[in-house]
Amino acid sequence: MAHSIVPPYLLARLAEADAASMQRAASAARRSLRSEPAVRAERRREGLAAPLPAASASQNAALKRTIADAANTELLPGLVVRSEGAPATDDPAVNEAYDGLGATHALLLTAFGRNSVDGRGLPLDATVHYGDDYDNAFWDGARMVFGDGDGEVFNRFTASLSVIGHELAHGVTQYTAALVYAGQSGALNESFSDVIGALVEQHARGQRANEASWLIGEGLFTAQVEGTALRSMVEPGTAYDDDVLGRDPQPADMAGYVQTRDDNGGVHLNSGIPNRAFALAAIELGGFAWERAGRVWYDAISGDGARDEGDGAAPPRARLSSTATFLEFADATVASARALFGEGSAEAAAIAAAWVTVGVRSDDRPAAG
């Protein structure tokens, strides 16, 4: 079931995208040196999305990836086996990690104008072959770590591009909203990682919202498991139904919200609720999900828009709290959509409607702005 995540034709395309994104960042930087606030205000009046936040001209938007091999121990970082620019190795886990970091960097830079995980060109480090039959992948605060899976339930964790994007997005959240990893803020932290994971995959494949699977971790289960992926963003609770693993337990709306002490308050369960809100809004809006719904989610998490607004065209917005509830985050996305795309925009309407569908906002509630 394992497959090459980034085929050669896409690698060529990504290389082009990287070159294009660097030009875009440079031109955005030049814009910001002129009169960025006026441009933002004018575009907002015209109902157009504000230009992407610009990486400063002095920032180096180039990738710097380093992949290490833990040789099935739990000792980090392990031995470096591939550095930026080095040719592919004969180890698929190494190459998948390398390509996945590149694909995630490409999404952050081209879609959101963000230069790496910290916005300042942080080198991207990963370790593969961590642990013995280790059934997991995680972001340890500084690097991504991938296990090989036990071969019974899980294949190697590098095999899913959405999982690679998911892990790096934990780094983005760490450097931005710093959502506390417990309860609702923890489920939002998880959900934002799924959103970025899905967008990385869609961006690399050139998929529009209505063409995407909206699955997280597709291909990670072995053929012995009855299931297609770890999670479904568009239909939470349907990703697997297996004799051994049981049924995908994610709720699709607030009526199914799970109260538990396990999993830091069910962060991997309740993330299904905001996940579905994102997928529904993105599909409703159509086109490439990273251009509209994705920009709004990123803006709400990063606080970039809230920080940049000093042009008097819109009231200042508060930064998202690190202990945000689902409702606070829903309000933040609607506020971001209005600021980026306009008060009466299709984006604001679709996003507000999606939060009502999943039971986070109520129909008659005037949206906070």
Binding site: F138, R231, G246, D263
Partner: protein, 124 residues
């Protein structure tokens, strides 16, 4: 969904291999020892569960010696874990004594790691 339902689901996940544990009853018979390990978190969000029931006196002594070497009184982890890391919940049940601990993956070393590995092996 309630905690209990969540726990029941965890129990379902456990049923792989020759099960030494008895579902539906956590109590250990007189002189016996029951140890359960459940793991939550991880990017997959699965909740596997392993369990062992020991009744032979010499086996009970051997397991208890490992159990007693674990740092049960260490401070509990604070609110807010590390993204996608595992958290282990370890319970030891004896007829007149019960204890449990929640151990984040990063703290699972020494006797905790030995205990979890031994329970996993025994429940295969």
């Amino acid at each position: 969904m309630t905690d209990q339902q969540q726990d029941d689901r965890d129990g379902d996940v456990a049923d792989r291999g020759p099960a030494l544990h008895e579902r539906g009853s956590d109590a250990a018979p007189r002189g016996a020892l029951r140890i359960t390990v459940s793991r939550t978190g991880g990017v997959a969000g699965l909740a596997p569960h392993w369990s062992v029931m020991v009744t032979e006196e010499k086996d009970v002594d051997s397991w208890l010696s490992l159990v007693e070497s674990c740092p049960w009184d260490a401070p509990a982890p604070g609110i807010g874990g590390e993204p996608d890391r595992f958290v282990y919940t370890i319970r030891v049940l004896q007829p007149d004594h019960e204890r449990d601990a929640r151990v984040p993956e990063r703290a699972l070393d020494g006797p905790w790691a030995d205990l979890v590995a031994r329970v996993k092996d025994a429940s295969r």
